[in-house]
């Protein structure tokens, strides 16, 4: 059954730096509203049609993660419908909270396998006064080391693209210190019929570069300091080879789009499989929530 979640902002108090929205709310609509008050939730979806609930259910963080943290750090409270039809609240609406177990973090990235997200409260941040992308061909590690709190450092193996956010003069000082080129457009994430994202320890990115460059037809862009690598190609072999390269470097590849029929979404068994199995059974004993989405035997 296809589920369409309620859309719209339910509560927004700018002085609290929190916003509560229906899961079906468009991320871009939310961003426009927050911008009017000089705030933001740095969700940064790749697709302009993304909804807040969808983005949180898949747990995909945006390219400013280096500075603003993963999407799971943004979610303070969730409401979701359980497999047996109850509405459950987890977390709390304040920026700090250790009252009970962290159900929001459990739900972020659970791909709808534990219930259906209907509403969430998110942490907002002040919107930066100024921002600027710039690029350089200097070694990426030296560039990154010379910057204080860059918002994003993207690397294609040769070129480094840096996003600086903050106050005007600081951005200029930082850009000069890192010997960045003139301001440029934000680099496009690699596109193609077949897309995936690699997760590896950031220290492995340097050696992963050669492996990715050896894959015919692979286009890729890495988030330096984070360990996410966006990979795309026009042939499904690209994802197969990129997944193998990721595995050799201690990581894994999540399929985002395409891949041939045999290509699994995760390509790895879930770590701590027994814990995963028990959590899934506790929330969805009959396996009705998005069956088959997570790897492994029944009940996923």
């Amino acid at each position: 059954m296809e589920v369409r979640a309620p859309a719209g902002v339910i509560a927004y108090e700018p002085a609290d730096l929190t916003v509560t929205v229906g899961a079906g709310t468009s991320v871009l609509d939310l961003d426009s509203l927050l911008a009017e008050h000089g705030q933001m939730c740095p969700l940064d979806p790749r697709d302009s049609n993304a909804t807040v609930g969808g983005l949180i259910a898949v747990g995909l963080s945006g390219v400013r993660r280096l500075r603003h943290g993963p999407v799971r750090d943004t979610v303070l409270e969730v409401r979701f419908v359980t497999a047996d039809g109850r509405v459950v609240k987890g977390g709390g609406p304040t920026v700090k909270n250790v009252t009970g177990y962290d159900l929001p973090r459990l739900l972020v990235g659970s791909f709808g396998t534990l219930g259906v997200l209907v509403q969430m409260t998110l942490r907002c941040r002040p919107r930066p006064v100024a921002w600027q992308w710039a690029s350089t061909t200097r070694p990426v590690d030296a560039v990154a080391a010379s910057l204080f709190r860059p918002s994003s450092v993207l690397w294609d193996g040769e070129n480094t693209f840096v996003l600086l956010e903050g106050f005007d003069r600081d951005i200029g000082v930082e850009a000069r210190a890192a010997q960045l080129g003139p301001p440029c457009e934000a680099p496009a994430l690699p596109n193609g019929t077949h897309r995936g994202r690699i997760s590896v320890a950031p220290a492995a990115l340097g050696s992963l570069r050669d492996a990715l460059n050896d894959i015919t037809g692979a286009r890729w862009l890495a988030e330096w300091g984070v360990g996410t690598v966006h990979v795309a190609g026009d042939d499904p072999r690209v994802l197969v080879d990129a997944r193998a390269a990721a595995a050799r470097h201690g990581g894994w590849l999540l399929r985002e789009a395409g891949g041939d029929e045999a290509f699994d979404g995760f390509g790895v068994a879930l770590p701590n499989g027994e814990l995963h199995r028990r959590i899934k059974e506790a929330f969805d004993p009959n396996g009705t929530c998005n069956p088959g989405r997570l790897p492994g035997p029944h009940p996923f």
Binding site: V88, N97, T99, G100, F148, G251, P271, R278, E281, A282
Partner: protein, 474 residues
Amino acid sequence: MCFPDSAETIAAAVRVARRHGRPFVARGSGTGLAGGAVPVDDPVVIVTTRCNRVLDVDPVQRVAWVEPGVLNLDLSRTIRHLGLHYAPDPSSQAACSIGGNVATNAGGPHCLAYGVTAMHVLAVEVVLPDGSVTTLGGLEPDAPGYDLRGCFVGSEGTMGIATRIAVRLTPNPPEVATLLLDFTSVDDAAATVSGTIASGALPAALEMMDAKITRAVEDFVGAGYPRDAEAVLLVEVDGLADGVAEQVAAVSEIGKANGARHVRVAADDAERALLWKGRKSAFGAIARIAPDYYLHDAVVPRSKLLDVLRRVYAIADEHALTMMNVFHAGDGNLHPLIAYDRRQPGVWEHVYEAGTEILRTCIDAGGVLSGEHGVGLEKRDLMPLLFSPDDLDAQARLRDAFDPDGAANPEKVLPRGSRCGELTAERASIGDKSCPLSTHALWWCRSVGEHIGKLAVGRPRSATGSWKCARPRA
């Protein structure tokens, strides 16, 4: 009680406990305020104070692996020469352990800008309640499947014990400015807090102290806090030069517009350290006012701060109690503190009742029961104020997935009756003003907790084995 000195011996202690059919409770430095580490149900107490090694520091990737007993401030001291620090900085950071910080998802003044412990823990090796050892999370940005690391952080020892922890290290900011603003009314100080947050500035820390605590601290530390102020704000902004200058100007202006008498900007690191010493010594300074204190930890939406503060003072007046407030104003994380003398007959009942009323006030204002100390034993039976039976049932399901036998830190966090089908008689008593956890029980927990804390410090290392396990005397 036992005192393992490594990840392996912590795991062994859990297995011994389970083999003998005993539950277990992990204990770090014992600085938590909610009784989270207090033994209930005759458990084996596993004290992590001897597991205090920083195992590995990677200054390039800015990651450190530490044992759970490493003290929070010791980690930052160890990496200071690298220009790095560990950002979560609870006021007890000189005494509290990273393992305990993980258990309570601890905060601290600087989590306003830098975030709480959960945002700084990348991976955690744990011994699960069945005695098996595994790693949750990892150094890669995302793990396949559920965020088990995220579930574990803040679970107050009820999902197992952290044996090794990978934490993110934060580069020291190039510029730091610390401001002290003083006011002739608490209202003006609170308005300055709201105005600062609403202006788009996000200070690294934004702390408030009221008149009584300011005087006590000044007498104790001599930091130059104005003794005649009704409230002071300690504000820190950090980052790059231009941003710091702009934010110092903005905070000063907002403060003056709201009636700040003086805005003092610390001239150097020594003055900064002195101002912070005042704030972080606040709880020690209370001994100058009364021998005992009961400190609360609740969070309210920032826009409700002023209303809630007024009500908190009124509650104290109604009970004729000495109320002080020293807290993380920027986050809305209140720490109402009642100073009293336990030898005074009948006072404890008033202290406890006033505390419960304060928590209810915070919940009514849209707040939560705990910002950084957790639910533990103290607030367990207040959970239904915030969560419905279905909400609590969902939390119980998550806990039971980690600990099907209920062996890890039993009787904490979730009230009895949380699980679907359990007797809910206890929950019925929440509707009225009486709390099911008796005053006597709470008093007992605190006393035992303090006692065990002292024992842990003085315990000698075993000459033969690497850890000792002794059955507590009945």
